[in-house]
Symmetry: C2
Subunit: 523 residues, 2 copies
C-alpha cells in the first residue's frame, strides 16, 4: 500500500465540497499563512493551500480526503506559534488545516472547575467566556493572548498563574486520527460519561500524551482544569544588582517553589528583555554592534529594574497570602540581603484597571504584553527561540548564561534571556532577535541556533520546543540507545499514519516511508 501521487487539484475540489468554497484558500491568498519570522527563504516551508473546517465531522472528512489524494496536512489551531515557524508546515507543499473557525467554549463547569474548548478558542476569548460565565475560576494566559488555548497546551507552552504549566492542566481530549477516526480519551471514551473533564487516567493505557507536540492526530476538543479565583493574591518582584546574583536567586526560590509557598510560574529576566518588550534597540544604540559598556546600566536605571528581575505571585485567603509573603521575605533577606523585594497586594476580585499591567498575567488577564519583542533590531522584525530545559540550579544556570552570552555576542546578537520555572525544571528561554530583511543577519542567527542545539546537548540538555527548521536537528540530539525513542515515535506514526497525512516531520517524527525527508541528524 504505497502513497497515492499527490493531487492538489482533486483534493481542493473535494475540500470545497466538504467545507465550502469560502473555507478553502489557494495560491495567491496565502499571505497570512507564511511564517512571520522566517529563518531563511520563506518557500523552504511553504504552504500549498489552506482548508478551514468548521466541525469535527469536517475535520474527519478532510483528513480522509487528504489520505485519498496523497496530501500532507499541517494542522494549526490558531497558528500563533511564532518564533517556532508560525503557520508554516515542516514539509513544504503541505496544506494547512486551520481550525480557527472551531472556536466554541463548549462547557464551563462551575462546580468541578473545568472547561471543554475547541482548538480555535484564543486565550482572550476563553478568559472572556470564563468571566462572563460567572464561574469562580481564572484562566491562565501566556504573554500574547491571540494564540489557541489548545495549541499552547499541546506545544507545552506556559502561562503565569498557579496553573501556568498548561499541558499539565489538560484533562480529556477528542482527537481525529489520520484515517478520520474520532477518539475520545480518558473517561470520555465512555458514552454518556460524566467525568471526562474530571479524571485523567481512564481505564488502560492513557493516550493523551502522544498527541502533544505530535503528528499522530488532530485535537478537536480539550478539557482543562481551572484555577479557583483566590480571595487575595500578591505579585512579588525581586531585583538584584549583580550578574552573579542569578545563582542565589534561583537557589533561594527553588525550595519555596517546591514546597508550594510560591504557587505561580517563576520568571527571571534580564534588562535586554525588558527593553525589547518596550521598544527598539536604536533607543539605546544606533549601530548593530555589541552593546557598548554602560548600555545595560542605562536600561536598568531607565526601567528601574535590576541586573536580574524575578517575578512570581502567591494566592490564597488574606492569612495564607501573608504567610507566603512572610516566608518569601525571610528566605530572600537571608540569602540576598541587598535584593529589592517589592510585594503588591491585590484583592481576588480586583478590576483589571487596578492591576499593574505587568502583573495582569498573574491573574490570568489576557494582553499582548510581549508584542514588541520582535522589533528590537528594527525593520520587519523577527525572532527565533532557543530554549533548553535546565535543572533549577543557580550554578548551572549561571554557567549556561555565560556560555550563551559569549556565543550570542560572538555571532553579533544580544543575549536576551529569561528563565521560567515550573515543576522541577526551568526553561532557559533565549531569543535571537533579527531584522528579517537582513538576510545575512538571519543566516547568522540560524547558524547560531543550529550550533547551540548541539552545544547544550553535549552538556546533557535538550530543548522543549523547536522551530520547524530545527526539528530534525533537535530530535537528533535525543540519541539514547541509538535513538530508541525516535524509533518508537516512528512505529507509532507508521501504525496510525503510514503515509504521513498529518504533519510529517513535526518534531522530527516521520513515517518510515518518508525517512529520506529527514535532515541528517548529528550532534
Amino acid at each position: 500500500m504505497s502513497r497515492t501521487q499527490p493531487d492538489l487539484e482533486a483534493f481542493s475540489a473535494a475540500a470545497i465540497a466538504i467545507v465550502g468554497e469560502d473555507a478553502v484558500l489557494s495560491r495567491g491568498h496565502l499571505d497570512e499563512y507564511t511564517d512571520p519570522f522566517p529563518v531563511g527563504d520563506p518557500d523552504e516551508f511553504a504552504t500549498a493551500a489552506v482548508v478551514r473546517p468548521g466541525s469535527v465531522e469536517e475535520v474527519s472528512q478532510i483528513v480522509r480526503s487528504a489520505g485519498e489524494h496523497g496530501i500532507h496536512l499541517w494542522p494549526i489551531s490558531r497558528g500563533r506559534n511564532n518564533g517556532y515557524g508560525g503557520r508554516s508546515p515542516r514539509t513544504p507543499g503541505s496544506v494547512v488545516i486551520d481550525l480557527s473557525r472551531m472556536n466554541r467554549v463548549l462547557e464551563i463547569d462551575p462546580v468541578g472547575g473545568t472547561a471543554l474548548v475547541e482548538p480555535g478558542v484564543s486565550f482572550a476569548e476563553f478568559a472572556e467566556a470564563l468571566r462572563a460565565s460567572g464561574a469562580p475560576f481564572w484562566a491562565s494566559v501566556p504573554d500574547l493572548s491571540w494564540g489557541s488555548v489548545i495549541g499552547n497546551a499541546l506545544e507545552r507552552g506556559l502561562g503565569y498563574t498557579e496553573y501556568g504549566d498548561h499541558n499539565s492542566q489538560v484533562c480529556g481530549m477528542e482527537v481525529v486520527l489520520a484515517d478520520g477516526e474520532v477518539v475520545r480519551t480518558g473517561m470520555g471514551a465512555m458514552s454518556g460519561s460524566r467525568t471526562w473533564q474530571l479524571y485523567r487516567g481512564g481505564f488502560g493505557p492513557a493516550v493523551d500524551g502522544i498527541f502533544a507536540q505530535s503528528n499522530l492526530g488532530i485535537v478537536t476538543k480539550m478539557g482543562l482544569w481551572l484555577m479557583p479565583a483566590p480571595q487575595a493574591w500578591a505579585a512579588v518582584d525581586i531585583g538584584v544588582s549583580e550578574f552573579d546574583d542569578l545563582e542565589q536567586l534561583i537557589d533561594t526560590v527553588r525550595p519555596l517553589k517546591f514546597n508550594g509557598t510560591i504557587q505561580s510560574t517563576v520568571v527571571i529576566g534580564d534588562p535586554i528583555g525588558v527593553a525589547a518588550f518596550s521598544g527598539p534597540r536604536s533607543t539605546w544604540q544606533e549601530d548593530h554592534g555589541t552593546l557598548a559598556p554602560g548600555v545595560q546600566e542605562r536600561i536598568m536605571a531607565h526601567y528601574g529594574v535590576g541586573r536580574w528581575t524575578m517575578t512570581f505571585a502567591v494566592y490564597g485567603d488574606d492569612e495564607l497570602v501573608a504567610a507566603r509573603v512572610a516566608a518569601v521575605r525571610r528566605a530572600f533577606s537571608a540569602s540576598l540581603p541587598l535584593a529589592t523585594v517589592t510585594v503588591t497586594n491585590y484583592a481576588g476580585d480586583a478590576s483589571t484597571d487596578d492591576i499593574a499591567p505587568h502583573h495582569r498575567v498573574r491573574a490570568g488577564i489576557p494582553g499582548m504584553y510581549a508584542e514588541k519583542l520582535s522589533y528590537w533590531f528594527g525593520g520587519r522584525g523577527g525572532h527565533v527561540s532557543f530554549a533548553p530545559v535546565l535543572p533549577i540550579d543557580g550554578a548551572k544556570a549561571l554557567a549556561q548564561v555565560r556560555e550563551l552570552q559569549e556565543r550570542f555576542n560572538a555571532a553579533g546578537f544580544d543575549y536576551c534571556g529569561a528563565f521560567t520555572i515550573t515543576g522541577r525544571s526551568m526553561v532557559h528561554v533565549t531569543e535571537v532577535l533579527f531584522d528579517r530583511d537582513d538576510a545575512e543577519q538571519v543566516a547568522r542567527g540560524r547558524t547560531l541556533v543550529r550550533d547551540l542545539i548541539g552545544t547544550v546537548a553535549d552538556d546533557g540538555y535538550g530543548e522543549y520546543r523547536g522551530h520547524v527548521a530545527f526539528m530534525d536537528r533537535i530530535a537528533g540530539t535525543f540519541d539514547w540507545n541509538d535513538g530508541a525513542l525516535g524509533r518508537l515515535h516512528t512505529r507509532l506514526k507508521d501504525a496510525l499514519d503510514p503515509h504521513g497525512v498529518l504533519a510529517p516531520g513535526k518534531q522530527g517524527v516521520w513515517p518510515s516511508a518518508m525517512q529520506d525527508h529527514r535532515e541528517t541528524p548529528s550532534r
Copy 2:
C-alpha cells in the same frame, strides 16, 4: 507472520540460560504466584511458570525469547495488586515475569527532589532509602507498604500525602518493549541527559502515559518527584453523625481541596471500614446475614468514629499550617456545625512513635494498616474491589452510596465504602469482602461486581482499575463511538506487540490476533 506455537519447555530452557536456574520456577513451585483472593476457580487465571530477571538486559532477553517461543508474559513488579487479581495473568498459561529482584533505588537527588527506582523497590524499602539518604523529602505510601512503588504508580494507585496521586508524580521511564527494544522517555531519551527526572515533556509526543495500566511495555526504571519535608503539618479528622451529612462533607471540602488549602488526598470512610481494618465481622455479629440495626452504632461508639469520617492533612511552616487549619475550621463550622473537627499538630521531623498510627501515612511513613480488611467474613479471607470514579459532588455521592448499599445488601454483603479525593474527582472505593472458602458467596460477589460495572456505566461512571476477571467487562463500558479508544489501544498493541507477548488482555487490550480471547463486552 503468525504466532509461533507455544513451547513452554523450550522457553524455560532459554530462560534458565538467561537468568539462571534459581530464577525460573515451574509447576509445583508456584504457590506464591496465585491470586490470594480468587473470584472463582484459581485455574481460570493460572500461571504456567515464573521467571525472575535481575537486570534490564535480562528482561530484554526474556521478552525476545518469549516471542520466539510463542509465550505470553505477565509482568509484575512485586505482584501485590491484591483485590485486582494479585499476581494472576489475564491469559491463563502465561509466564509471570517477576521483577522483584530488580529492587535498587538508583538515585535520590537531594537538590532536585527526585528519585529513580527499579520495579522491585517496595514502598517500605523506598521510604527507608530516602530516610537514610538524609534528603529533605518524603515518600508517599499507600495503606500497605509491601507493594511496588512503580507498580502502584502504573496502576494509578494512591497514597495520602500531597503527592498521593502517584501516577502524576512520575517523571521519566525506561521501558522494555515487546521485541526487547529498550526505550527511555522524556529527557532520558538524550544520552548523558541531566534532566531525565526533572522535566516530563521531552521533545515530541510523550509516550509515558501509554505504559500505565498497560501491556505495551515493561517499565524497568521510573523517575519520581518527591514531596519536600515540611517544617510542620497537621492531621485533620472530621466526624459527622448523620448518614446524609456525607453530602455537606464533600461539598465543603471540594473548594478547600481545589484551592490548595488542603494539600493531601482526602479520604472519607464509613464505620464498617474502620471495623474491618481492625478485626473480623464476628466481633459484631455471628451470622452472615445483613447487619442488625444498632451494629453500626455500636461500631461507631466503640471506635469513637462518626457515621462518616473525613481525614486529610495540611503542610507548611507553622504560620501556613495555622492559616490552613483556620480556613478548614471556618468552612466546616459554617456548613456542619455539629461535626467533630480534630486537629493534631506535628513537627515535620516528628519521630514515627510520636505520630498516631492512623496518621502515619500522612507523613509517608510505611505500614501495613489495612492488612486485616480481607478477613472480615472469617475463613481464608478475600476481597474484590469495585471502584468507580465520581465528580466531587455530595448529592451524586450520596445517591451512589444509597444505590450500592442496597445492591450490596441485596446480594448478602455489607457495603464497605470509602471515597478518596485527588485532583478533580473522587474514587468511590468499595470492597466486596468474602470468605474465599465459601464458593457460593464468592460467586455471588463476582456477579454483584459484574452487574455493578454496568449499573454505574449506565449512570455515566467508569472504573479506574479492575480485577483480571472484569477487565474486558469494564473496557466494554468505554463504548463511545463504538469503542474508538479500544480500537486505538488495539492498533497500538498491534504496532508494538502483534502476537501478545506482553500481558494480552490486560485492561481489555488484546492484539487483533487474539480478539477471540476477549469476553464479549456488554453493558
